[in-house]
Amino acid sequence: MLLSPSDSDERKGAPFLYSKILEYEGITEYKLDSNDLKILLCEQRAAPVVAFMVVYRVGSRNEAVGHTGATHLLEHMLFKGTPTYNKRRGTQIAAVLQKHGAVFNADTWLDRTRYFEMLPSDQLELAVHLEADRMRNSFIADEDRQLEMTVVRNEMERGENDPGRILDERIWAAAFREHPYHHPTIGWRTDVEGMPTSRLKEFYDTYYHPNNATAIVVGDFDSAAALELIARHFGPIPPSPQPIPPMYTVEPPQQGEIRFVLRRAGQLGLVEMAWHIPEATHPDSGALAVLDHILSAGVTSRLYQGLVETQLAVDVGAQAYQFTDPGLFTIDLTLSPGIGHADAEKAVGEVIEQLKREPVGEKELQKARNLITTQMIFLRDSPFGVVNVLGESEGVSDWKLYVDLPRMVTAVTAADIQRVVNTYFDDDNRTVGYFIPKEEQS
């Protein structure tokens, strides 16, 4: 147990203590003894810049009918201020950060909510103080909620302009019937419009506590000084009065293909296909990450060769969405003009069938592994790159997922790839959506 060398004479009470948990691959994990806040530190002294992030383990996964979109709307509300940082005092959160040239924002997704700043390294305390303050002191006022709701509604409407985004939303809603990955993080429109302020406040009071959060610092800082700052500002916050409620809904097996068509105005046809895959901590995650690259990374990838080079599609993507709970592996196509949806889908089927029949060659496998491992090195060019992936891993399960990825990927064999394709890319486990542009009405 270490003592925070805090200016204890300046404040009342004893300084806050923290414990070192683990040091691994250049990252050190601590926790605050007073409230179980998890802390990750990664010093990188390349430039006088530091990145700070607080990740809360709450996302749209923790929402249900009536308050879908609560995580996201609450994240917007947390820019509305606290008694310390607010517009009336001339200390509005965004303005204060902007003044120091910070790059800052917050984002929400299925499993987590993240608040982050990248700023000159002598301003680390500002970021730490601000995040500690908004963890428990945010105004969640009804008049602010009403105004912010219409801002979010405009954000939602911008998304609705994009057929690809709507198709993707429908895919998740179709593939997940019971589990809350069913609904989009931005929420259903009428839930966002109708959600009372009290419900948002309840959400804040349930999930925004130090024992449900991780604070991450990456860049140009001194570890002892950063720990002292974090202990001083987050230490006084008590842990949650009640345990954080677990989310226990499990999606049952799909048992049969799901298909649908979306018709509205648009220019080019789209196809999206999805298969259920296991949670991020599952042993097959490394193989699925490699498969994602074999299918869609660069012009030499299987789908690019099978669909874009053959002029069936103008664009193709594949993504293994690996989350806290089982997610989806998706493939999406933008069709070339004049190409039928079924023809393009059939070509994807052929690419997959081939992967089921024949093991991938060593050279192709090595290329995919190299791409993943070098991407990890490029990430380290920027403190934000590192804080971003650590934060994402913490949201899904644990930061060591990120650190271990190169090792997991290196261990993936051609037989693993063949096995996961055969295991998960099953017709009964598949959801397929077509976007068909509606003809112009005369």
């Binding site: 990188q44 002294r45 390349a46 430039a47 006088p48 810049v49 517009k87 001339g90 509005q92 965004a94 303005a95 902007q98 120091h100 040239g101 790059v103 990248m118 700023l119 000159p120 301003q123 009403q146 105004l147 709701m149 219409t150 801002v151 509604r153 405009n154 954000e155 939602m156 409407e157 911008r158 609705e160 302009n161 057929p163 860049g219 105005a265 648009g266 220019q267 080019l268 990374a297 660069g298 012009v299 030499t300 874009v308 002029q311 103008v314 664009d315 933008t334 070339s336 003009p337 050279k363 290329k367 190299n370 791409l371 070098t374 991407q375 490029f378 380290r380 060019d381 509606k438 112009e440």
Partner: protein
Amino acid sequence: MKTSSDLRFAARTRRHQLSNGLTLLVLENHANPTISLSGTFRAGEFFNPSGKDGLASLTASMLNKGTSRRTKIEIAEELESTGARISFSSNTFTVSVSGQSLSQDLPMLISTLAEELRGPSFPADELDKLKQRVIASIREDLDETRVRAYERMTQVIFPHGHPYHRPSGEHLIREIESIGVDDVRGFYETYYGPGSLIMVIAGDVDDHRVVDLIEKSFGDWKGPEPPLIDLPYTDLQTKPYRESIQMRDKANCDVVIGHASRLRRLNHDYLPAVIANRALGQSTISSRLGLILRDEMGLTYGINSSFSESGIADGPFTIGVTIAPENIDLAIDTTLQIVGDFIREGIREEELADEKSSIAGAFQVGLATNGGMANQISSIELYGLGIDYLDRFPDIVKAVTKEEVDEAIRKYIHPEVVTTIVAGTFE
């Protein structure tokens, strides 16, 4: 850690000029075993011959579609197997080159770049595939409210033939369809060469070694004389104008408000104008426009103003806002009122102090990566500002006065003659 005097960019950046005109700048940063490459040369859209809009862009995109020595796939195999990347894109005046690799792969990165720049084979089937993809992407843009509104605004405020006058999607598709391999090769032969090429390499490299590699791969490259760019200023509009573009199935509308700015990067009051814009509308969540339309009125997710294309030529001053159809008039009226107040009042002292400190901080944050440094150095070189500009920049920002900013506001922002374009689905 190095001593503070070593940290000056002027001391850390080495500038080399090859006899064929190529300018090379190298910044050593050994923090991470990677390198970032950023380059530009003058062969952008401005040089499109009449009737061939899109040719500069197609030519740049054809560079990685095969060379006299190797096919597209062979080159991609080599780059992808090491995680390296080279990409080309065309802008209004220049083509940009961007690359990254592990530092151990720098020789391969440079030789591949030279192979693509110096010996493209322009295969006809690759041009056909590229055209098909480009046309599809233009078709998708036809469906984007923001793109349609912005494009129409540039057509109203810039004369036909001006590089910022964007052709309509349909027109562009017709011209691209008419482009053949001979056009691409002709354009390449007329404009591609080392004369205007600026290449910046930042990262875990040794300066002498980079010079050797560049000399070996590019030293004997000969090309045409670099073209000159001489473009008159665009006159400010004389009266307001408004137009609507009706689209289908759009829940959200985009409004673009703008006029010709007459602001260029090298104007003496460029920085005061940038500060003025930051206070008015650069940030949706902390500038004047956003504080009122988003934070106080809840009307929009995004509202921004910018002098985004003020570079070699003078671009537009624009304000863009996304809005539900029923709020269009309220948003436009409120925006113009805020702009009017800004011109009357000028920048507030605290806004000026905040923006100056913000620029200084953002400058530091932006230079945190090899890519960020390479881009900054490349832009400094393009405008001939001298590398020490980066070291002097914090003081230059500090010296800007309220009078200079207020003068820039009155000179460059003119709500009385704006062109307003609304795109979306409305009654």
